[in-house]
Symmetry: D2
Subunit: 345 residues, 4 copies
């Protein structure tokens, strides 16, 4: 039996240029911003001018998770491929993986076996740089905040009440809790600080729940970063940070187009964790997919009781979405595991 | 008089697709990995098979710097454009800017006025993600190091003698000196720590002085990160980190092709600071430029006494390079400034 | 109406030399180690050789406390004075105050009004130096522990699992949580650390619950200070610290003799907090008082549900004590306060 | 040959009660505040009413120090004993040792062999509590300073510019550099902080250079503890700390009377380090000794080039003192050592 990587590397040889995948959805080459020959961002300026019936959105979720994962992504990819094989204009919408877990135990987030998104390796590494942009925007806000306090602190921010955390796209426990601003008068203000993994950052959640760039900027400005000595909240907007943050996120905000092993278009965009955030791909990507395809297969992180709830109650409300169907993945392994069978079986 | 940005934005309309720029140098489209339509990485697999005389390398340096900069980059771009206008096959080789100073006082590193590299805004923001990749690789090593200590410290590393620092592509004084690994037993090991700006990081210097991927991996493995309790040095190789670091850097290691306002090919790759590191673009880029063009115009950071010395003594020795000519920029303003005239004049 | 201090300062003029107070209890001058003319330590070498019936111990406790205190100490002093006036050989046994709260809101711990122990000011300041000695012994153990880790850590102590805290006889919130051992290789090992007020320190509790110097040394050696990387407890004894600690505590371990305003002998010795520790004076003092007097009036901190419980269940068991009577102080103010009447009334 | 401790312990048996030593100098018993039977503080209220010629002050210093010490103290004690044997009314004036080095390599500061001050063990441990009082006063100021910042910081103090350090009477490298005020909003303000050994503290120097309690209070109020955000110095006086500090120091400020093995009166008071501070006993003690005796033998720490210079230029100027003679100790060992002979010889 071949490993995922062997399958992916073999398939790579038959990968179609991304302009061909775009063409399947009617996107002209000039509206695709290529990243190499097999990945592209779909320009925010692109609008589908052809009228068509509303897309049907299918949510893939699962029963309670197991340590090995549930098979949601492979089911999503397989279902998308199947619909495409039936001749339906189908778009698969998934989250993009963070670098962090890639170097950890779990492996990437692009499916597995013959139900994969490719080029897998690229997707699992830097991809089109979205997570780097989100990390930068997140940390720019932190730097502006600390710089504000350092430069005289006109807003009267209490350094002990900074609630905003820095981000890094890496599993690095060493940075979770730290004291920053040491080294004397010229090197910031001493305070308790810390890094979250980018997928768990405030900017990632904001990025995924914004409808367009203007909405993103507005939402960024409302992030609460600290409290004043007299208990008033301070937002990114109070620091006038949202403009520079949006500049850093502008390119990243365009959804990413790739393909399955069978050539079905897949939009991979945004990757918030499902435990700490809401665990779905971006509203921008799902909206665009609905504009492009007749069937949109998407996924919500973790089990139905957590991820699907968040999908329905947060993402759907936010974008006015009514999914047409929900697939509940219940693998034999998960049923056995939750029924008390030993993990090793 | 138009501002740099106005000139750049106007020029953007006449920008040539990057495949046309590549074609000027004989690079086929399939050897270019596009990032949008106006930036590309030149694939490491590309080799110029046409025999040609050895390229002449022209170094642009300057007298002692002034706060406003010397004009080295504008001279480099202007000289490159002039040689191209004379019909010479010319490649300009410059450093890529870090995000950090972009949001600071100084502005980007892509020239100015009519002697600019475009698309300026892209170059000054995420560009093709090289600095993000370098930041990631740098921080992966730090995370592996701290994880090694946390997991039992078989190498007997003294946490007080970690000499390797984390990196962030941002001007953030708050992170210069910190205590990391706080928060109890499960969150790392308490130690004094800190971040440098990516342009000043160890991995940036290593990246720029490596001849090819194999050499990069070897050089990465030799980075000293800490000392043991009994004073022995510990390298990235001791932590077996170089493989994963090289994976993160693989794509970034391909040089980036862009153009001047006049359509002259420019390779922008690597951006070490000239004070703390050696201040020149990558050996990989300069070597490739020499393979592609007849004239290569390049630049060394800071004044001749610092940057040009480092170029000659470090980079030239490392790659076996003999520059054919050196241009010494001596602006009227710099002469006046160093002659004691008030800065405002 | 006179303030406590006015009363105390007036009474000071009629204070009897401490040798006279000692003589009331049959202690010869050579067994008293004077601290000035009105305070003395009773030498550990002193033994009452006259046989007498077993002393009756009266515990003074109170209903739930109010912010202003309950009046336990004034009742104890008053009751002692009354018994003495009836011709009973009486000794009052109380805790000695820590410096900390003296400079805070609450005031000292030597009673009030005409039911005071004097010289009040001395007692509330350094007194005979017991709290300083306890602070020193506590911090010596901390220094030996950190020095052990610094010098090679043969015991394999995990600096993240140090559970022993430093002590200071002061209300200083700034020292509660800190990172110590910063400043590079020669200045200790970075770790999370902190200070407790001496009254809440481990050594204070140990000091008060030890029967004699040998028992003290044994108990000190059993203090758990940290855990190894593989989870084994490390004690003061493993660090061979108990000897030096006992040297620092030797003089302090002798109980302190002072007097009430009416000249009744009072032994003031040991001052653990009642919330975090057991809240009674030393076993050494109570035992000596029972040897010297026929009636011993003592007090347990906080309310009956906390302090008296601890007195009965911890101190009495430890020293084999059966109190003959318990006085429960229930002031009108406390009854009203707990009945819901506004604090101001 | 007997060790210092054996000699001291043997001599202890022949020690004279401190009232007898006081009587030699004409001090009545009521002006002595005894600490046990062999140590006393001389009350600040005591004034010698008998007119007598001005005392002659003899300074004992030495050539450059060796690791083992120079013999200054043994010479001082021997010289004092000799003068006394000649029938001269002599007082020896020395520094009191800190606890810190006692548990380190060097041993105490009370002389050695048959030229010792006794009771040696008491002097080397808590003695009469002076160092504890100085430590408390020093740390009270630190606590008041941090509390001021914590409570609203009306004085606009920059926590990064606190120059005042805490003190502990112990060799504890772990506390030299730390970050304090961690643990969130209720536990102070995060800042870089640290402890000095008490002998090197600001309050120790101030204590030793003050002429009387009023002068001490005034000098304490002038200690600079921090700077404001706009660079103005903040003193203990700005924090109104000097009153409470002086209360803590009041008793300690009375000089301590002990004796040599031969019964010569010795006043041991104040113990600043000679490298970081001025290295002599208190002005109060030297003044009192001059009032009491005809010959006063005193000592300055370290070599003549450091300690004697500081004695002459700082202490003598401050108290208007003209020493009558200087003894320069030049041991054979020191001469050999500085002449290049191996340390072991």
């Amino acid at each position: 039996m071949k490993t995922d990587i062997e399958i992916a590397q073999h398939a790579q040889k038959q990968m179609k240029p991304i302009v061909e995948i775009g063409a399947k959805l009617g996107i002209p080459a000039e509206s695709l911003l290529p990243y190499g020959h097999y990945k592209a961002k779909i320009s925010a300026t692109y609008k589908n001018s052809v009228s068509k019936p509303a897309a049907k959105v299918i949510l893939v979720t699962a029963i309670s998770p197991t340590p090995a994962g549930e098979g949601k992504t492979t089911v999503s990819v397989g279902l998308g491929d199947a619909l495409a094989k039936l001749g339906k204009k189908t778009v698969i919408c998934l989250r993009e993986p963070s670098l962090g877990p890639v170097f950890g135990v779990k492996g990437g987030a692009a499916g597995g076996g013959y139900a994969q998104i490719i080029p897998m390796e690229d997707i699992n590494l830097h991809f089109t740089g979205d997570l780097h942009a989100i990390t930068s925007a997140n940390n720019l806000l932190a730097a502006l905040l600390d710089n504000h306090i350092h430069q005289g602190n006109i807003l009267n921010i209490d350094p002990r009440q900074v609630v905003y955390r820095r981000a890094i796209d890496m599993n690095d426990r060493q940075l979770r809790f730290l004291t920053s601003g040491l080294g004397g008068k010229t090197n910031g203000i001493p305070r308790e600080d810390g890094f979250d993994i980018t997928a768990a950052s405030e900017v990632m959640a904001t990025f995924c729940l914004s409808r367009n760039l203007a909405d993103l900027k507005e939402n960024l400005s409302r992030i609460v970063v600290a409290y004043t000595y007299d208990g008033k909240p301070i937002t990114a907007g109070d620091l006038q940070a949202q403009g520079a943050m949006a500049v850093l996120l502008k390119e990243a905000f365009d959804p990413n187009l790739v393909q399955t092993l069978e050539g079905t278009p897949a939009i991979i965009h945004g990757g918030p964790f499902a435990d700490i955030a809401h665990g779905c791909n971006t509203i921008a990507a799902t909206s665009l997919a609905m504009e492009l395809g007749d069937y949109v297969v998407t996924e919500a992180g973790f089990g139905a009781d957590l991820g699907a709830e968040k999908f329905i109650n947060i993402k759907c409300r936010k974008m006015g979405l009514n999914p047409s169907a929900t697939v509940l993945v219940a693998s034999i392994r998960a049923l056995k595991y939750h029924g008390g069978v030993d993990k090793a079986n």
